[in-house]
Structures are given as structure tokens and as C-alpha cells.
Symmetry: D2
Subunit: 288 residues, 4 copies
């Protein structure tokens, strides 16, 4: 059993991100060789693919250049534009906060699921409780040079093989990024993208948890394979987020990183600290 | 004249962030000593102080723990929560994109202001065009151990004195963070916070631009002093964003960094790549 | 005891609006004399006064004339503008649906309060279940030619006196509109407007319910006096909406109607049928 | 030429609704026979069919029954629910304001199209300028007992034949409702519903304008046939809204009215007075 409630005290809301301390930070920055910085996050805009049940990303200008073309005043010569954004927390590239998923009415560390309410947001384990992450990133490419097919299962064996190809292993405090090729190959069909994604299964997740990784990301919608095994609904979310306190990073852009031929690197992610949020939008970086 | 249009080609939309290359990235990560990571961004939520003319940050749950308490089904045991966020791009800590402010109907690099439209957002210099920043951060604390008063002007002399105290100078590619103490001392009155902030004036901005810094941030609403000199409206925005292509980072949290007694450090900011946005929300980091 | 659960069957969601049948409609239209039509609803826009805890009315253009001034194409010559609205259901002039308020975990007619959920809206007694109202309107002006002071209590005696002045009495199926003068005199201070309004007390509400009126409206924020008697919170809402199934119509514009010197008239209100909504925005009419 | 600019003065923003005066109101209410009230508006909610380019209707609870099930306090026993709505102005049943469509940079009555701006909404001819309508409704059923096929053209001849069946003719101040059967038969495919609707052509529109009707509605998305004749884009909008100042009422529910066998009736529509809006959501009524 991998449940870790209480490991970092009864009030802990950071989960496995506690595994990243100053030593891990120093080790990560020491990995920098070329100084090349790769953006691992998707652009976020009206064209972003979202599941049909979620609202689309909405951008509405509150002031723009058209206003001036139509005669708006420009005191002191000053002209400006600004806008309002509205989107579901789980759009684009984001980190699932530990308040996002649970079972048996309890979140990670035993916090009550009823603490997540309309009027309060997540009173425990909200996105603002996620510390920023600077640690070793480990790319496990399970489809080198290609892409997995729909609903392909990535098990422990596939992860082990990828680690062997990478010449390293998941270590405590790592952020492991699983590349399936799905994000770059699935196309714009939101239903197919979300409901039939390749991804890890529960055994693979358990192996990663046993290695004490800090977080798990993938280039797909939910890290885990969809649909799950018969009778199960998001079992990897249940295991990693709720039992183990391991955040998931979804829709991570990995093709360019894979093409760079680097398996370990300095990984940085500083999610937007949305108070009471169940996810933190983020544009993670790989510093090579 | 400090205008830099064309310096990085007629199609450039990154401006002074071009001054950060692999050498600056390597030099920045080499500054890491203790491995301590400081979050320089504000929490973003319904309590975030915004100017009265802007919409407040809005968080509305689309599924929550109350649903389950009230009897919602939990197929496979799975329970989850999620929500929708809506906010003005310039809320909380954010980087002003080069599309945010201009004059004479032209943005940075001569792009037409009319490219910023209701239906298109910013077609040029949107937030998604801002590369992530990993570079040397330089803290210029103009109010060490205290806070400036309302509408105090920070001129070139004050910046020079702060640099002298820091034992270094702004260098090409730096992100300079000016600490006024305002964010930590001004209180919750949004009108006072925004309309009467201390900050830099045009001379100070020109001095920073001449040093070829990559971006300028501050622990206030608009980097520059409010109100501006008679007859001027956001002149520092006009100079830095529009003439020089230097992004501004606003509402940066600097008190803890100042207390740490470190003037130069590895600065990382990876703004949310909002397509056509005039700002990128961000939680910057100082890695000590 | 005035509770009426079951009076119109166990599945009824229209409450006292059932008291308006074809006879009442015919009688109401027969009241028309001059053909003058008065709008009893407030304009709804960014300037609308809302309580501080609610979101302001938001209007954001999705296409506008500025776009064309800035060069947008006009296929076939066609130009258009459109926009997105976002507002709290209880903004401006609206009818409180019977799902809006309750106690002891049960709504009107015994429906469970838990049926009002994030993901479902109001499964019972939503705004779309409110039938349109065409019936006799009865104006009870408790402050003829003037306005009540802050937190003034309108009791049964005041309503009886107003009815006497009007030369008529509340009858089954009437919509009774209580004019306090508050809306026209209170000014723009949202806190004062909402928290210190004059309005009816529970005795007055009981008297109206006993008369079998179909709905009760007023020219204030909540029909009932604020604050309520010691230890009570919105007791008129509890009595009328929950016990009696009598909808409340709030922020009704009554000064012009009062000035017209007409006490009974053809009243028409057709609220927006918002599915699962707890209120229906509406612009009611008095046809004189 | 049917253009009517200036007919009601240079500042007029009500257009053909000026044709409804007290006489028309009295005549309309005198048509009431049975006292039956029919709702001619669609329910408005998350399931409402909208064109793909528009945002869906969004309902998000800000307080709900789940909150109480999860332990929210209930001071004085009071429980309540409320929510936020967000939708495109042209969703569901609505009246197109005269600011919605134009050509040659000028709206109805010569107002500049540039008056419709991000920051101002429609400064002229906004939805709040539409007076409420109480007048004779005239049902012209061009598909009695059935429904028109995709993109079927309803010309002047079809309208004349329908009027003959109705035993009456369009008269000054009438609201003419054209029943095509499309709304009740087209199904949930938003693209098909909007892009291939049957509806009136320009000749039919000119005939209605010549009759001095106050407004034209239909049981489809845009009143007019889609697609329009080669090279034309929404020509009926251009003619009726812009040249003639005749508002259009879209997505009107007409099957039950047609089934009632009544051709003329008391029509009431009181659109939500959205300030600067290009449409007013409405639930019109037929009082039989």
C-alpha cells in the first residue's frame, strides 16, 4: 500500500512536492549544460482543445485598438488594450491540485471532500498550496520517434524500458514526464483526444509512487490511459492524487524535448496560485 | 533616443527578452547557492485587489464536494471537483505583453495598434509571444527595511544608489526588480494602491533601458509612479513597452527576497501563453 | 399557518402563480383604459447597483464597430456587432424563483434543498418553471409623494392604509406592488441600498399571503425590511417563497406608475426562463 | 426605396416600434378572448442550441444546496441559492436591437457604426432603447401542419397566401410572426439549424416593411433564409434593421400558437433592457 497520509504531518497540503528540497534544487540547476530553454506548455486561447463538457477558453477585449480607430480619446497620447479571460481550470497545460480528485469522501491526507464547495473553492489542497517545482526532470519516452495508438496501455514494463533507454531511473524528488506522442498526433477531435488517450495504468503509477517521484506529467489529457480497466474510473488519479499526494501535470508538450535527445534536465514549473483552485495553469520549462 | 524598433528584425515580437540567450541562462543558473526557491507572485483569487474599473477575479465551481454531499453519483468511486476562472489579464502578478500599451497608433516595432481587436485579440506581440525568462535577477531595493510613501518618485539617482548598495549594476539581459515596499504596506484600498503608488519615473526608465535590461518589475501596480508628471499618462509604459520593447512585471512580491539579503539571483518567469493576450499571468521565482 | 404545500399537488412548482387563470387574465386586460404602457424594470448594465458580494453586470463585445474601423472585412457589405453578458441572476429587476430561499433543508412544496446543486442548478422550482404573469396589478403606495427612510418597517397597518387610499383591496391572483420610494431616493451606495432598505415585515407578508395574492413586488432590493427583526434573516423570503410559494419581484420601478395616479392596472411579467435558475430577470409592464 | 431614416426625427432609436401607440395597445388588449397565455420564448440554459462561433449559455452556482449538505452555516435558519449566468446576447429567443447590423458604416437613422465599441457597447440603438411592445400579433403560417425543408425560401407570395389563409393582412404596428416549422423540426445540430434555415427573402421583407409592421419574428435563427442569394450576406437584416428600423425577433416558439388556430392575438414582448446591448433576450407572450 502506497498511501502516504500523515507522512509530512496532518496539515500537509503539498504532498510529494515535499520531496523537492534545496538539495534537489541545486542538483537540478547543476544539470544545465547548453542554456537552452524549452517551453513545455501549450498556448492557451480560444482554439485550445477542451473536452465538450468544459467551457472553451474565452478571451474578450475590454479595450482595444479598434476603440481608437473608432475615435476613443487618448489622454496624454496613451493608448492601451486589455481583456478578460475565462476558462476552466483544467484547460491547456496545468497541474492537478490535490483537491481535484478523491474517493470515499476524503482527499489526500484525510481532508474532507466537502471542503471543496461552491462558496469556498477548495479550502484544503487548493492550487495556491502547490509549491513551485525546481527539480530534476526525467523524460520517459515510451514511443521514441513515434506515437502510441488510441487507448494504448503504458505499464510498468514500458516505463522500465524507457528508463533503461534513458540510462537512468526515477529518483526521489524527480518530475517524471511520460511521452506518448499523443498530444502531437491526435488531432483536433476533442472527444477522441480525451476519451481514447494512451497513458499509464495503475501498476505503472504504483511503480512511480514507489520511486518517490514528486510529480508525474504526460503529453496527454489525463496522464492515465482512457478508458480505464473495466469498472474503474480514473484509477490513477485516485491513487496518485488522493492516496499518494502526487500532483499530475497534463497536456505537457514533449516532442521538442524528446527530439533534443536529453533525458534528464532542470525542470521548472511555477503554477498560477489560484486560491481554492483544483488546478494551476502552468507553462513548465526544461532548461537544458 | 532609446527606441529599438528593428533591432531584432522587422517581425520581432519578443523585444528586449531577446537579450537573454543561452549564456545568460547558464550564468543565471550558476548563481544558485542554497537551493532556496522564493515565489515572487501573488495568490490569485476573489480577494485579489484590482482597480475598480477592472473585473474582480471570479472563481465559480462547476463540480464540487457539496454535490456529493447532496447525493451526486460517484461511478467507480471517483469523486472530483473543478471550476471556472474569469479575470482581467492584468490582475495579480503578470507580465505586460508588448501589445498592452502604445501611442501614435503604433506598438513596439511599428506594428499597428489596430491589430489589437475585439475579434482577434493582439495579432502582434500577444502574451504567447513572450519567451520564458531565465536570467540574472537584480533586486534594486530603494526602500531598504521600509516602504516608500504615496506617489514617491524613484529617479535614476535612487536606482543608482540602490545598485551601489547591492554592489552590482544592471547588465544586459538582467531582469531588474525595483522594491518600493508599496505592495506590502499599502493595504486593501484599491484606489489608493493603484492611483497613488510610488514608482520609477521616465529618467529612471531611460537609465534601465540604456543598460539593456530584459525586463523591469516592481512591487506595485504599474512599475511607474502614479500620478505621472503633469500632462503625462503612463509615460514609462510608453517608453519601455512601446519604444524599447521592454516588458513590465507588475505586483511582484519582493519583501521576502529583500529580507534574504541577496541582490542577484537566478530569476525564472514563465508567463501563461495567452493567445492574443495583453498580459501573461505569472508566478516568477527567485532561486537563491 | 399559511403554508400551502400540496395545495396544487405534490409536483407543483408554480406556487401562487396558479392563482392566475384565464379569468384573471381577461379581467386584467379589461382594465386597460388609455393604452399607455409603463416599463417597471431597471436598465441592466455595467452601472447597475449590485451588492458588493455579487458580481457586477459585465458586458464584453465579441464584435463591434471598432473592428470595422480597424479594418475588419465586411463580406457582402454586412457589418454587425454582438456581445457577451455575464451577471448574477439576482441583478436588476427580477423575480425570485421558488428555488431561491428555504429553511430546514426543504424548498416550497417539500422539495429537497439539495436539489439545488452546482452541476444541476435548481432541479425543482427553477426560473423556467415560473409561468408568465398577466393579472391585475395593485399598487400599494406606502409613501405617496415621498420616500420611506432607511430601514422603515412597513407593517400590515401601512398596507391596509395604502389599500384604503387606493380604494381597493388585494384579491386572489393579484400582483401587489409596494412602493416605498427607496429605489428612486437611495442613491448609488450599494451597501446602504441593500442593507438598510425599508420594506414589509412578516405580519405584512402574512396579510398578503392570506389574501391569496399571486406575487409581491417592491421598489427595493428584497421586498422586506433590512435588517430584519433581531435573530431573523430574511424572514419574509422564508415565509412567502418557501412556505407559501409566492414569488417576490425585486427592484421594481414604481415612481412613474405612482405619479400616473392609477392603483389597479393590467400587469404583465414574462421572466427570462433560465433553466435551473434561482431568479428570472424581467422587465414587467403596467398597461394603463 | 423603403429607408425610413428621419421619419421619427434625427435622434430616434426605436424605429418601427414607434408605430405602436396607445390605440394599437388598446386594440391589442381588446383581442383577448379566452384568457389563455402562450409563452413564445425558448427556455434558456446550458442545453440551448447556439451557433458554434458563439459561447454556450453558462450557468454556474455561487451558492447552492450542496453547500448546506456539506455544512455551510444557516444564520437564522435561512438557506439560499444563487448563480451567475453568462451568454451571448443573441442566444435563445431575443429581439435584435437596431445596433446589431448595418452596412456602409452607418446604423439605422444614420448613426455611425463606430459608436458600437468595446468600451461603450452600442451608444446608439442599444437594447435598452427598445420600448416594450404590446400590439396585435399576426401569425403567418407558411407551413401549416408541417415544416419547411432546409433553406426553403419564403417570398412575398408565400406570405400573401398565409395572410389569406389567416383572413387578415399585415397592418401598421403589427408584429408579424412567420411560422416555418423549423425550430420544432430541425433537431440539435447547431450548424444545420443556423446555416440552412428556411426563412424570408428580401422581397418578402420589403412587402412587410411596406405594410409598416412594427417588428418581424420567426421560428428560426435569423428570420431570413440561409444561405442568402449569391453574393449577399444577411440582406434582410440589412434592409429591415438598418434601412427600416424594424427589429427582428428570432427563435420564436410558434407551434403551439399555430395549433391553437388563432391568427391574430394580443402580442406582448418586454425585452431585457441591456444597456448598450445589440439584442434583448425576451420571452414574448401571445394572449388569446
Amino acid at each position: 500500500m502506497v498511501q502516504r497520509w500523515g507522512r509530512w504531518g496532518p496539515d500537509d497540503e503539498a504532498g510529494a512536492l515535499n520531496l523537492v528540497g534545496p538539495d534537489e534544487v541545486r542538483a537540478a540547476t547543476a544539470l544545465v549544460r547548453t542554456g537552452r530553454v524549452l517551453r513545455l506548455g501549450l498556448d492557451l486561447g480560444p482554439e485550445t482543445v477542451v473536452p465538450p463538457h468544459r467551457k472553451r477558453v474565452e478571451r474578450l477585449m475590454a479595450r482595444d485598438g479598434g476603440d481608437y480607430a473608432a475615435g476613443a480619446r487618448r489622454p496624454g497620447g496613451f493608448q492601451f488594450a486589455e481583456e478578460v479571460w475565462s476558462f476552466a481550470a483544467h484547460s491547456g497545460t496545468h497541474i492537478d491540485a490535490l483537491s481535484h480528485a478523491w474517493y470515499d469522501d476524503h482527499l489526500y491526507n484525510g481532508f474532507p471532500g466537502t471542503g471543496t464547495r461552491t462558496t469556498t473553492g477548495a479550502r484544503r489542497c487548493g492550487a495556491e498550496k502547490l509549491p513551485p517545482v525546481v527539480t530534476r526532470g526525467l523524460l520517459l519516452d515510451v514511443a521514441p520517434g513515434s506515437a502510441l495508438r488510441e487507448s494504448a496501455v503504458v505499464g510498468e514494463a514500458e516505463l522500465r524500458a524507457a528508463a533503461e533507454r534513458a540510462g537512468t531511473e526515477p529518483r526521489p524528488g524527480d518530475v517524471v514526464l511520460v511521452r506518448t506522442g499523443w498530444l502531437g498526433s491526435a488531432g483536433d477531435d476533442a472527444v477522441r483526444y480525451n476519451d481514447h488517450e494512451p497513458g499509464i495504468d495503475v501498476e505503472a503509477a504504483r511503480w512511480l509512487a514507489a520511486a518517490d517521484v514528486a510529480a508525474v506529467g504526460a503529453d496527454n489529457y489525463a496522464v492515465e490511459v482512457q478508458p480505464a480497466a473495466e469498472g474503474q474510473v480514473f484509477p490513477v488519479h485516485q491513487l496518485l492524487l488522493r492516496d499518494c499526494g502526487i500532483p499530475l501535470i497534463e497536456n505537457v508538450v514533449l516532442d521538442e524535448l524528446a527530439a533534443a535527445g536529453v533525458s534528464e534536465f532542470c525542470f521548472v514549473a511555477s503554477p498560477l496560485p489560484l486560491v481554492g483552485g483544483t488546478a494551476g495553469p502552468v507553462c513548465p520549462l526544461a532548461i537544458l
